[in-house]
Symmetry: C2
Subunit: 204 residues, 2 copies
């Protein structure tokens, strides 16, 4: 079935609709938008995509995305290299960086352990993490993994692995009622944990 008047258009719609959350209508909209732009501008998108995949690297220390062998966070002298925040993905690094509340460094696992999806410890950047821990220069590991079964399993696995080779302390990010949330609409598990893990009251 040739739904589109042009094979080139059909091919482009097919390729775009492989992106997450993009259906064929949105893909067509992208294509028609590109066809309205000057050739140089639409070519720029094409070339950027090719450059992205071929030029980008993983930081050899923290496995974050980087333009060179070490990322901008690991090479930043103002950051505290003794505190390592362990996260699932690059997206989490960006989210924490946006808070401007963290001046340590990161370790990007590239996923969490999930037997259901066939992701085991060897699929993550755990060897690099063990290497960092073994150097004994780290005082604290912050486990900032998702509050799911997979995230908890991964946190426990990492704790077991690293606590045997490093004297560092371990912490996890605080779980509780989000700021601005109504108590009555908060799920029981979160609300229960927020009472168990209550913190001393500080008047502003």
């Amino acid at each position: 079935m040739t739904e589109y008047p042009s094979a080139l258009l059909e091919k482009a719609v097919n390729e775009f609709s492989r992106l997450p959350g993009v259906g064929r209508k949105t893909a067509l909209r992208f294509c028609l938008h590109l066809l309205k732009l000057p050739t140089t501008e639409s070519d720029e998108l094409g070339r950027t995509i090719i450059n992205l995949r071929n030029g980008i690297q993983r930081c050899e220390i923290c496995c974050n995305l980087s333009d060179s062998s070490r990322c901008s966070i690991c090479t930043d002298n103002s950051r505290d290299k003794s505190i390592v925040c362990i996260v699932e993905s690059v997206r989490d690094v960006l989210a924490i960086e946006n808070t401007t509340q963290f001046r340590g460094v990161y370790h990007v696992l590239g996923g969490v352990i999930s037997p259901m999806e066939g992701i085991g410890p060897t699929d993550l950047s755990l060897p690099q993490l063990e290497l960092r821990a073994a150097k004994n220069l780290i005082s604290e590991f912050i486990l900032a993994l998702p509050a799911t079964l997979e995230g908890d399993t991964t946190s426990y696995y990492i704790f077991k692995k690293l606590s045997s080779i490093s004297p560092a302390s371990f912490s996890t990010i605080a779980r509780g009622v989000a700021i601005g949330d109504e108590l009555e609409y908060t799920d029981e598990v979160t609300l229960g944990r927020s009472i168990l893990n209550r913190t001393p009251y500080q008047s502003r």
Copy 2:
């Protein structure tokens, strides 16, 4: 501000977020998805975009998108070349083709006259349309333009232009209550028109 750990990633997010309806979060999602794919697959998207813009043409007859100088509809011998459906965009051609109710040919204007947006008759494919009309091979023009002020203006302009050079008849697509719509939720203008333009009852 360098929000992203990599300049290549930043550039790619910037380029993707210029697509219609794509914000920076979605653009980042696209980039991280591409980085997970094999290089060949992500390069394919880049190359397809470049090929699309450089390879696609406008059909010299109807101005539809095409891989060659004449589109697949204009070169299809089973289509009735004497009925020309005038539409705003390629998207409208696809929508009408999907109904499989039309066996004539099209003319893609590439927009509608809109003084507000600075689009005048010379920005549309009206010269090509006049050329087609002047050949006297067309028996009917169907005006299938949007039911907006701009669409109506364009329909009137085309009618005035073509009726002086062609003996063809003119029609517009039926406006009325959509199939499945409740009368009480239909806007007054549409409902009013649907009563004025009522059609003889046909029992199935």
